[in-house]
Symmetry: C2
Subunit: 240 residues, 2 copies
DNA sequence: CGATTATTTGATTTCGGTCAAAGTAAGTGG
DNA sequence: CCACTTACTTTGACCGAAATCAAATAATCG
């Protein structure tokens, strides 16, 4: 729990919230936070819960407070592609469109802080810094989407898996900064989700993970827990 | 050449510019346009010219006035993936980052209107509507990137080609709106570029185009010119 | 502990890639 | 205007990485 001078007059709800420090809410002063907090709801959703449905109307945006949210597109034949993953304290929502063009699901159990779409859009007008933060967030999402386009279009299955593990390590293990050689974390996605993210099948994902384990690049405990002793060795297999 | 009341006091350079109507410059009043126009340069680049290099410093942003710009990522072994295509009057540039994470090349001959990065970033602070337009543009790019992620990860070669032709038709042939059944246009990309965009090889692109021609879904003249008599028939093959 | 779901492993097939060659278009300079 | 070069595209034969089909094994949960 952080408690600094900026906490004065800040709604209880927001006082210890990461979104106020590193997320979009950081753009708001305590008065604006109070206004927004009146229509804000903090809630949990368990893994698998659909948060936004493709083609559905979006009345509320959210900040991800913990856990991982996956953004998916569905094609004919039930084929699915995950087109984005959101980690705390990411902003979840597509401003200026009432209808969603993709579906959002909780990949793990998640905590969200949601508020009415229109309240945020109104606040963006009177607080340019909020718009600025949102622009920064969306630019980051665009950078990430383009990195994955290159992976989806041109990397081999082995390279996709290596890139994926590195990306997760960087987002989940706080110790996986550039200065550290090792990382350990629980995968936030099932094999099926990883396959949908990388444009592969479950079987190929499994085989490639087994292969990396056989080559002592990673260790796997209980299917979900991954230990990487030498991040550079994994990075050498990412193909870029 | 448009000449309405809004043209009063507008720099000559901007008077007939589409970017002032549908692009980001539409957010600027004539005084701001005049300021920006002082450091603005209008120039042409021929097909193949590198406009921004990966890892290079970006000192200027641009509006695309005509032609098509491709945004590319390069992986090891010289593998390439096109991660975005920009048509007039799109904005070309990544605000708030001095170093580019991708390369931009003219896919066709292009006309650009460029201005210093810092001039635009400064203007964004004092003109929230400019930031708003930029946000809208980047949100559109993100939507498109995610559509292509689904195509790259989950569509077959045949579906990728069909989707690609539809996307180009919508962007280039003004008559290809939802109300029209037919479209005709010159492909702005070579077979090699199409392959790099769709994550395929030149040979596969060629074979799929030949197949669509054989099935009378498209006609091809002179390699580059495409005629689609029934857009719905092509859309039925796009896989979504 | 049994039932259900998730993951791994194995055998086989297939779509798209690779390699090779021929066909076409577009310049270029004599 | 035409031979000649050069680059682009198409077509064909073959190959291989990943998909599909099919069990077996491991984890999870009531």
């Amino acid at each position: 729990m952080r408690d600094d001078i900026h906490t004065k007059g800040v709604p209880v709800l927001c006082a210890s919230c990461e979104a106020r420090h590193r997320g979009v809410c950081g753009a708001l002063n305590s008065e604006q936070l109070a206004t927004l907090a009146r229509s804000t709801r903090r809630h949990k959703a368990e893994a698998g819960k659909e948060l936004v449905s493709d083609g559905g109307n979006v009345e509320r945006f959210s900040n991800v407070l913990s856990g991982v949210v996956k953004l998916t597109k569905t094609l004919s034949n039930g084929r699915q592609q995950i087109v984005g993953l959101q980690f705390a304290p990411d902003f979840l929502g597509r401003p200026f469109e009432a209808e969603s063009r993709l579906s959002a699901q909780a990949a793990t159990d998640v905590e969200l802080c949601s508020f009415p779409r229109q309240a945020l859009e109104r606040m963006m007008v009177e607080q340019p810094d909020l718009q600025h933060r949102l622009l920064e967030q969306k630019l980051r999402e665009l950078d990430q989407a383009r990195d994955w386009m290159a992976a989806l279009g041109r990397k081999t299955a082995a390279e996709k898996i290596a890139s994926f593990l590195l990306m997760i390590a960087r987002n989940i293990d706080p110790a996986a900064g550039p200065e550290h050689r090792a990382a350990a974390f629980d995968l936030p996605l099932s094999r099926a989700d990883i396959a949908d993210f990388l444009g592969l099948t479950i079987e190929t994902v499994s085989r490639q993970l087994t292969r990396l384990r056989g080559e002592n690049v990673i260790r796997i405990d209980n299917n979900r827990h991954i230990v990487i002793d030498d991040l550079a060795r994994l990075a050498a297999r990412a193909g870029d």
